[in-house]
């Protein structure tokens, strides 16, 4: 296993150095990353990379085929536009993680911020901690699995895709144009497979799924008056 010390390499040459190292050895370790931005951005190929500390923004964006494990925090927009592969984060993340992903798997063992899976088109995102607000907003495919609590307006205006949750208060926190449903057998076995692979302690029978409305036509209420007719003056005056 080769080990790269990022503090010696610097941010401009970092991804080039990683690509070079991957040609030599399929397993790589990065140390002293110190929350740098764009770590492993755009790397294609096979192999696995382990990052020993935290990274900054856009970690593993446009990833294709690699398996990246971060042993610290990641910043915003991690796994952005990912094509394939695996991104495993052991601690917490920022917001907008897994935005627009096409395929692959992102596993977050800690908590995530708001707008996770923004416009996701495929792939899986597993959040073992809590998700923030607007989880899975405007998803166009893919599956988002949240083990902890979901935030407000979960699944807002999804076009397609699924959100699996076991939060008992999901119904009050759902966004518009989605509904709560039970899992099919196929979905249950897929979930159990994922949990086994990533050593997550959960069972698919605890979960419900949020699906977009079947008609496919989203309804929006632009003007929402809060009517209180009983407060009009005429009701306080005795007439007659």
């Amino acid at each position: 296993m080769e080990c790269l010390d990022i503090s010696c390499i610097g941010s401009t040459n970092m991804n080039a150095a990683i690509k070079d190292a991957l040609k030599r050895d399929k397993e790589l370790k990065l140390i002293n990353v110190n929350s740098m931005h764009n770590v492993c951005a755009g790397i294609i190929g096979e192999g696995s990379i382990i990052i020993e500390d935290s990274t900054g923004l856009y970690t593993g964006s446009y990833l294709e085929g690699l398996s990246v494990r971060v042993k610290g925090n990641v910043g915003w927009y991690a796994g952005d536009d990912m094509m394939d592969g695996e991104l495993v984060i052991e601690k917490n993340t920022g917001c907008n993680v897994g935005a627009y992903i096409n395929g692959g798997t992102i596993v977050i063992y800690g908590n995530t911020g708001s707008r996770v899976g923004y416009g996701m088109k495929g792939g899986n995102i597993i959040v073992c901690g809590n998700a923030g607000r607007w989880a899975g907003i405007m998803a166009m495919g893919g599956e988002l699995i949240v083990l902890g609590e979901v935030g407000q307006r979960c699944g807002e205006s999804m076009y397609s895709g699924k959100i699996f949750t076991r939060d008992p208060e999901t119904e009050s926190k759902m966004g518009d144009n989605v509904f709560l449903d039970v899992l099919t057998e196929e979905e249950k076995s897929k979930l159990d497979g994922l949990f086994l692979k990533y050593e997550i302690n959960a069972k698919s029978c605890e979960f419900q799924v949020i699906r977009p409305v079947l008609s496919g036509r989203h309804e929006y209420k632009l003007f929402k008056p809060d009517l209180k007719p009983e407060l009009a003056k005429k009701y306080t005056v005795k007439r007659g």
């Binding site: 925090n73 990641v74 920022g94």
Partner: protein, 298 residues
């Protein structure tokens, strides 16, 4: 478009050096200007004023003499921007708001900070320009805030750099990341209450608004931050601090980042995880919820 940082320490340490290091990690977020505010307690009132040219020096000194005696004064030459005067004054601290207003009324003079427990250093360009121009007071204190700026809708001018203060409550300093969309309505409201605006920067309006709210509710920072978050429209992450309190507010849409770390020794706030490496590379920050307000008493 900007980067912010805030430190609250349980023990008294040299806050300004740590703040500058934190800001150097997020320099890429704001190449136009930078500034820090530190709250070391002194006996005499320190006044830092920017002058549009060195001829304004006499006028400034004549205003200051009406309120107290000048113990020490130092003129920092213009360098790449405009000159700054640092004056230490022996005066009654209750007259500080009046002196602040009197100096701001003169066009060409802009108060950067005034008080016996607040010092603000700000300059255009990169952080090196800030450290090269001033000798920053490394006196020990327990909290401070800092900012690097990328100008959006107003000029890149030294008076438009953050942190901002306001004569309504001179010990309040605030930094802001984002853009307000109802700046002109707020400006008209605040000008009717007596505020004098020195720039066209929307964050200046927010500082006057929070300070005005604090003056009206006798120094309750949390209520003032909630009031400001309700009145101002747009996207924002604000860190505001006085000599006794420090707090932040994040807007309801949660578009700008604000991370928080709380340990036994210190509390850190910032825009990116990378800033916290100054203290400990292994600490993990939490992202704040949209609409959250939190205040600590120092």
């Amino acid at each position: 478009m900007c980067g912010i940082a805030g430190i609250v320490s349980k023990r008294e340490i040299d806050i300004s050096t740590s703040l500058l290091k934190m800001l150097s990690y997020i320099q890429h977020r704001g190449p136009d200007a930078s500034g820090i505010a530190v709250f070391a307690k002194k006996d005499k009132v320190t006044l830092r004023v920017s002058l549009s040219s060195e001829d304004k020096k006499e006028e400034l000194i004549s205003i200051v003499k009406k309120y107290g005696t000048i113990e020490d004064s130092n003129l920092v030459p213009a360098g790449k921007t405009i000159p700054i005067m640092e004056i230490v004054i022996d005066m009654d601290s209750l007259l500080v708001p009046e002196l602040h207003m009197a100096i701001n009324k003169v066009s060409g003079l802009a108060v950067h900070s005034i008080g016996n427990d607040i010092k603000i250093y700000k300059e255009c360009g990169h952080l090196d320009q800030l450290t090269q121009k001033y000798t920053i007071d490394t006196g020990i204190c327990r909290h401070g805030i800092g900012h690097v700026r990328m100008a959006t809708e107003s000029a890149e001018d030294i008076n438009a750099a953050h942190p901002f203060v306001s004569p309504f409550y001179p010990t309040l300093a605030m930094v802001h990341n984002g853009q307000f969309t109802n700046y002109f309505n707020m400006r008209r409201f605040l000008e009717s209450k007596g505020a004098k605006f020195k720039t066209m920067n929307d964050s200046e309006a927010a500082s006057h608004l929070i300070a005005y709210a604090m003056r009206e509710n006798n120094g309750d920072l949390e209520a003032a931050l909630r009031y400001a978050a309700e009145q101002m429209d747009g996207i924002f992450c604000i860190i505001a601090s006085t000599d006794k309190q420090i707090g932040f507010v994040k807007d309801k849409l949660g578009i700008k980042p604000l991370l928080l770390v709380e340990t036994e020794d210190y509390i850190l706030m910032g825009s990116e995880q990378i800033e916290f490496n100054v203290f400990d590379a292994n600490i993990y920050a939490d992202e704040m919820e949209p609409g959250e307000v939190r205040v600590w008493n120092v």
